[in-house]
Each structure stands twice: as structure tokens, then as C-alpha cells.
Amino acid sequence: MLDLQHVSKSYNRGKIKAVDDLSLVVSPGEIFGFLGPNGAGKTTTIKMIVGLLNPDAGTITVNGFDTQKNALKCKSITTYVPDYPAIYDRLSGLEYLNFIGDVYGVPKKDRLERIEKWLDIFELTQAISSPIQSYSHGMKQKTVLIAALLPAPQVMVLDEPMVGLDPRASHHLKELMREHCDQGKTLFFSTHIMEVAEKLCDRIGIINKGKLIACGTMAELKRLNEEQSLENIFLELTDK
């Protein structure tokens, strides 16, 4: 479970409010889609959830643990996929995954089983012993996704995870996201692809200029805005 209460963050000594008094709750078993125009505050929110940025005000808790006061506990149950796969490109894919296994303390048997399964699903088996430097953008993205799945986290936070993936990998990722939440775990992700959000998410939040301007299930959003597609709702709400 993810709980954000009155979270704010500003840049440039308070001149630019990136996130403004944002509150939302993502329940266990829920896929939460986070939408918004460029520069709306999506990545800033995500970075605060995973501890890359410190909020100026408000609290964030992961499964009841405060991300500021109990950072290590939160990190041990959360994994994160950034919007750009900047990973150790001088390591091989397998060395990187093994590093993640070592720091999260994944037992060898689980590590082997999971790595083999996801390498197979994402068609990376042949490249895994090569340096990450030799990978394409999509292959790096798949490696980061496998690394995020490897510790079997309680909460996954993904920032535009579909970017760079081919249609097959995208399809598999959506299945894995659903599978993750069907086990009672939480998933929070940002995207610009309305279709994915509409079909995949249990609930959707729309952020604009740092403020959460809409939040609810697809049916609730449709009722509120009398629009038929999420795209139209999004355009209508963010055109202010």
C-alpha cells in the first residue's frame, strides 16, 4: 500500500512548485496509473516515493512505513524503474542482476528461477552475458524491468515503463503488472499512453501543474467529465 498525504516539492528556492499538496492512496492489489502533461510533476512525485528526492512537506508511507523515517525498510520492499535506463553499462546483464540479488538478499534458488523465467519472457537469454553497453535502449529497459521484478517486491514504482519496448515485450510487461497486483501487491506507474492506462489501471490519477486534478476508476472519471475516452478526459482536464 502506498499513501501520500499533503506532499509538496518545489524547485528554485520555492519559485517553481513541482508538486503541490498532493494526497492519494494506492491500495494493495491495485494498479494505479499516473497521468499528466510534460512537466506536470509525475517524475518528481515518483522520485519522492522511491527516496530520490526529499519532500518539502507532507508524508509518504509504503506499507505503513514512512519513507523519510524508515527509509531502509521502505527500500527493501519497493523497486523502481526510472524513465531512462541509466544503469551500470560496464557490467554484463547477469552481473547487474546478480548485484541486485545481492543487495536485496534474494536466495540463490529464487534468483536462478526468476532470472531464467524473465530472460526467457523478454528474449534476453542470449545477451545476458554481454556488457550492458552493447545493449539497445529496449534491451536496457528490459534489464531494468527484470531487476525490478527480481526481489519480488511488495510495491513497484515504474516511470513510463513502456518507452523503448517492442510490442511483444510491452504485452508481456502488462501481463506481469497484472500478475504482480493479483498477488495483493501494489503498483504505481506513470504513462503517456492513454490506451494502456484505460485498459490496465484499476484507478487513474491526473496531475497538472503539480496538483492532482482528478483521481478515480475509469468509470468514475467518465461520470465526472461526461467524456467517452480517457484521451478526451485528459485533454479536457489539462487544457486549463
Binding site: 528556492r13 526529499n54 554484463s92 546478480n98 552475458s129
Partner: protein, 558 residues
């Protein structure tokens, strides 16, 4: 030409981060402390500059009656050019081939020579700053001492501006040629390292041979000639690199005759070499550059057994982070050349200097023989510490992570554990340097085993403090935004600050030693007190580093 100038302007802005710095200091008022650090560093420079000027004046006083004072100029110019020749290699390889903006520049409608010249200019400007400390004081103070006229100052300016051109052009020609060959291979990183080592070894070898041949005739006739000819000493000093002799003669030879001729030779050679690299850039630069970052990994399915062997078990964060540091450092050519290679290079340089000089080695040995054992131990320990710790490994340990630092922030490993792993990595590199230094101490200076053991004990303990100090400085202000790996280690202000701080620690210990000696404390007791002080200093700095880590890992935002 306008295109080239625009490109150079942008490259300089990017390299020095002028726009970003201006924005952060004056608009966001975020990095205002940089102004304070710059002011502090300037204050720190004054005592060194004073010592340097005193040395120049002393030398001038000795050499002027013999008519050999021009050799001071040669020595200064040579030192500057030799530094550029040796370390320019890192700059050139990294700026020409590993800047991340190259991927953006190659598709633009620019000629290869324009791209290469923009990079060359950036290095040139960097070198003006590097040699400012070594060459500028010599040029200026010599002019003042010799009461030089207007023509000297004009020519000094020309010489200063042209000074880095010849060594940089030589290095560029060699590197562009080398990279053309490197790019043909699949094992590019390994070849870059091997190639760079060969170039450095060849440079040192040349210096060794030239110095030996220059100082191999100490007969009476040569001595007589030495004192009667006004340029004998400068020729001897500059034998390793003739451009320094041309520049000296240009400066001291007036505005006609020999002065003008040598200025023309110096400027002509610089321009000819510059033209040479332009031609070479057009022909070879892109052939070496395009695809250099592409590493073709072999595609191979691992068997169950292989996979099982390569995968470890359980939670062991310190070991995992230590291995990550080790692998990334050793597999990134720029980091490897600046870190591990430097700790080996310092002792090698010392050996070359000691072996190629005619009497210096004997002088050191004699001084070592007549000194008290306590001083020999401390001098050797100081040398071992310099060999092991005066490199950028510890003071760039956080900066080297660059845009990948986000992983250190999100993994469930305490800052304390992460810093312990990083400390161990830097300390192991220091151990390699201390071991290399020990080889010099044993083989060249032929010190007794007991002295070596005592010196090593001092160095091993002191290395804890110096490693921690370097890490503390880098942790206080890590440089995480860089496009060129060189910026994380060689052009990182933290490395320079750590160098000054390390020298400061050694200086404070030196002053303490002097105090102990003056107080009449016996040799063995001095050793004991100093050793206890070093242990205290190391413990304190290490514990402070661990405490700082908890605070800074939380504060640093990415």
C-alpha cells in the same frame, strides 16, 4: 570558419559548465559556496607560489654569474610541455572519443576537422590553466629579474599561447592514429588501455635515453665548454624536448637574429603540427570515432551450470558494492588510466628520473645514508603515502557514479555499508600504490628491511586517513552531472581539493615532527608519538566519513 567558432564557443561553455554555473550561482543562488571555495583555494595557492618564486630567484642568483640563467626558462617551459605530453594523453583520448556529445555532433553537417578542432581548443584552454601554475611564474619572474624589455613580454605572451600546441598536437596525432587501429578491433577498451600504456612508456623511454645521452660526458673538455658557452646548460636541460630550447632562445635572443629565428622555428613548428592534425582529422578522425562506443557483445546462451556458477546467494551488500566499484573502475579506460595506472606511474617516473639523472640518485642515497633512521623512516613513509594516495580514486568515488547514482539511493543498503565498500575499494588501490612505492624504496634507495617495514606500517595507517579525507570531500559535493568521464576524475575540483587537503595533512604532521624534535624528544619516542597521532587521525577521519555518509545520502537529490 564561423561554424567552427560557434562550435568552439559551445564546446567551451559545455566544458566549463559556464551557463549552468552562472544559473546555479546567480539565479538559483544554490552553489554560492563555489565562490568561497575558489577564494579559499586562491589563498592556499599563495604560500606555494611564494616558495616557487623564491626557488626561481635562488636559481637565478646562482646561474646568472655563470651566464646560464636562461636554463631557468628552459626548465620551466620543459616542465610545462612534459606535463602536457604525459597527461594530455588522457585529455585527448577522453575528449576526442568519449565525450557524450559526440553522438549528437557526428550527424550534424560539420566536417570532421571542425569537430576535432572544437575538442582540441577545449583541451588547449584547459592546458593554459594547467601550465599557468608552472610556466607563468617562470616567464613573469624571469622577465622581472632580467629587467626584460618590451620585446620579451610580447614574445613571452606568444610563447605561452603556443606552448601547449606542440605537445598536444604530437599526442593528438598519436592518439588519432591509435584509435583508427583500435576501432578495427572488437576489444576496444583493452586496446585503448594497452595503446595508452605503450605511448606513455615510449614517452618515458625517450626521456630516459635523451637524458642519459645528454649527461654521459663528464670529461674536462665538456666541462670547460659547459661554462664558456652561455646556452650549454639550457641545451642540456632541453635535450629531451628541443621546442623548449627554441622557445628559450626566442625569448632571450632579442627581436632580431637568433631571437626572431627561434621564434619563427617555434611558431612555425606549432602551426605546421596544427595543420598536420587538421589534415589527419579530415582523413582519420571519424574512422576512429564512429562506432567506438559500440561494443559488440557476444550472443551466447549460458548453460544451467554456467548460470548457476555465476549467480551468488544471500544478502552481501558490502561485497556486491565492492565488486561493482572494482569492475566499473577497471573496465572504464579513463578511470583505469587515472586511478590504478597513476599509482603505478608515480613510482615508475621516480625510477626513470633517478636512473636517467647523473648525480641526483647518488645525492639522495648519500643524504639517506647520513640521516638519522627516524627521518629515513618518515621520508620513506611520506613517499609511500604520496605513491598510494595522491590519485583521484577516493576523491572521485561518488562523482564517478554520475547519472547512475540513483541506484545507490534506491537500493536497500545503508549509506554506512555503501561507504565501507567504497572505502575498501579506494584503499586497495592505495595498497597497490604503496606496494609499487615499496619496490622503489627497496630497489632504488636500497633501504634496510626494518626501515621498509616501519615506513610501510606508517603508510598503511596513514592511507586510511588520506583515503577517508578524499572521500569526505567528494561526498560533501559530488559531481554527478557529467558528459565526459574525464570530468568525474581528472577535471573534478574535488580531486584537486583532496590533493591540497592531503598535502595539508602531511604538512601538519611535518610541523608536529619539527616541534617534537625541537622539544628534544628521542628518536624512538618521536616515532611512537607520530604513529599514535596517525592512528588517531585515521580513526577520526574514518568515523567522520561514516557519519557524514548517513547525512549526505539522505540530502543528495538526483
Amino acid at each position: 570558419m564561423r561554424r567552427l567558432l560557434t562550435l568552439v564557443r559551445v564546446a567551451l561553455k559545455v566544458n566549463f559548465g559556464l551557463s549552468v554555473l552562472y544559473h546555479r550561482v546567480f539565479k538559483e543562488k544554490k552553489d554560492i559556496w563555489i565562490v568561497l571555495v575558489a577564494a579559499l583555494a586562491l589563498i592556499g595557492v599563495f604560500p606555494t607560489l611564494y616558495g616557487y618564486l623564491k626557488l626561481i630567484k635562488g636559481l637565478y642568483g646562482v646561474l646568472q654569474p655563470l651566464g646560464q640563467e636562461q636554463a631557468i626558462l628552459t626548465f620551466g617551459l620543459l616542465a610545462g610541455q612534459f606535463l602536457i605530453l604525459l597527461f594530455g594523453l588522457y585529455y585527448v583520448v577522453s575528449a576526442f572519443y568519449f565525450s557524450k556529445d559526440l553522438g549528437m555532433l557526428i550527424p550534424l553537417p560539420l566536417k570532421p576537422f571542425e569537430v576535432m578542432m572544437s575538442k582540441f581548443t577545449v583541451i588547449l584552454v584547459n592546458e593554459y590553466l594547467t601550465v599557468l601554475a608552472i610556466v607563468a611564474p617562470v616567464l613573469v619572474y624571469f622577465g622581472i629579474l632580467a629587467k626584460a624589455g618590451f620585446s620579451y613580454w610580447m614574445k613571452a605572451l606568444v610563447v605561452y599561447l603556443l606552448l601547449p600546441v606542440i605537445p598536444l598536437a604530437i599526442v593528438s596525432l598519436l592518439v588519432v592514429g591509435m584509435m583508427r587501429v583500435v576501432n578495427l578491433s572488437r576489444k576496444k577498451d583493452a586496446l585503448i588501455i594497452v595503446g595508452s600504456l605503450i605511448l606513455i612508456t615510449a614517452g618515458l623511454g625517450l626521456q630516459f635515453v635523451l637524458n642519459r645521452s645528454a649527461g654521459s660526458k663528464p670529461d674536462a673538455e665538456a666541462m670547460a665548454k659547459f661554462f664558456t658557452s652561455p646556452d650549454s646548460l639550457l641545451r642540456r636541460v632541453g635535450a629531451g624536448f628541443p621546442p623548449s630550447v627554441w622557445a628559450t632562445k626566442a625569448l632571450t635572443g632579442g627581436f632580431s637574429g637568433a631571437g626572431l629565428l627561434n621564434l619563427l622555428i617555434f611558431a612555425g613548428t606549432s602551426l605546421a603540427l596544427l595543420y598536420g592534425i587538421l589534415v589527419m582529422a579530415e582523413k582519420l578522425f571519424y574512422r576512429g570515432l564512429v562506432g567506438i562506443g559500440e561494443i559488440s557483445g557476444r550472443r551466447k546462451t549460458l548453460s544451467q551450470a554456467e548460470m548457476s556458477r555465476m549467480i551468488s546467494s544471500g544478502r552481501r551488500p558490502v561485497k556486491a558494492i565492492f565488486r561493482r566499484e572494482w569492475r566499473i573502475m577497471n573496465r572504464t579506460p579513463i578511470f583505469l588510466l587515472n586511478g590504478v595506472l597513476t599509482v603505478i606511474l608515480i613510482p615508475v617516473l621516480f625510477i626513470v628520473m633517478a636512473r636517467s639523472g647523473t648525480g641526483d640518485n647518488a645525492f639522495i642515497l648519500k643524504a639517506m645514508g647520513s640521516a638519522k633512521p627516524v627521518y629515513i623512516i618518515l621520508a620513506a613513509a611520506g613517499f609511500l603515502l604520496i605513491s598510494g594516495c595522491l590519485n583521484g580514486t577516493s576523491s572521485s568515488t561518488f562523482s564517478r557514479e554520475g547519472s547512475q547514482f540513483w541506484m545507490s539511493k534506491v537500493i536497500p543498503v545503508t549509506p554506512r555499508e555503501q561507504v565501507i565498500a567504497k572505502f575498501l575499494h579506494s584503499y586497495v588501490i592505495a595498497l597497490v600504490g604503496i606496494a609499487a612505492g615499496l619496490v622503489v624504496v627497496i630497489a632504488v634507495l636500497r633501504l634496510k628491511a626494518a626501515v621498509c617495514v616501519a615506513a610501510a606500517a606508517f603508510a598503511l595507517t596513514g592511507a586510511v586517513a588520506l583515503t577517508a579525507v578524499g572521500m569526505i570531500i567528494d561526498l560533501a559535493r559530488p559531481l554527478l552531472e557529467w558528459t565526459n568521464p574525464q570530468k568525474a576524475i581528472k577535471q573534478n575540483l574535488n580531486v584537486l581539493l583532496a590533493l591540497f587537503a592531503d598535502l595539508g595533512v602531511l604538512a601538519v604532521l611535518g610541523i608536529f615532527l619539527r616541534f617534537l624534535v625541537k622539544a628534544g624528544i628521542p628518536g624512538n619516542a618521536i616515532l611512537f608519538i607520530l604513529f599514535a597521532t596517525v592512528i588517531l587521525l585515521s580513526s577520526f577521519s574514518y568515523l567522520f566519513l561514516l557519519r557524514l555518509a548517513e547525512k549526505r545520502y539522505q540530502e543528495i537529490e538526483v
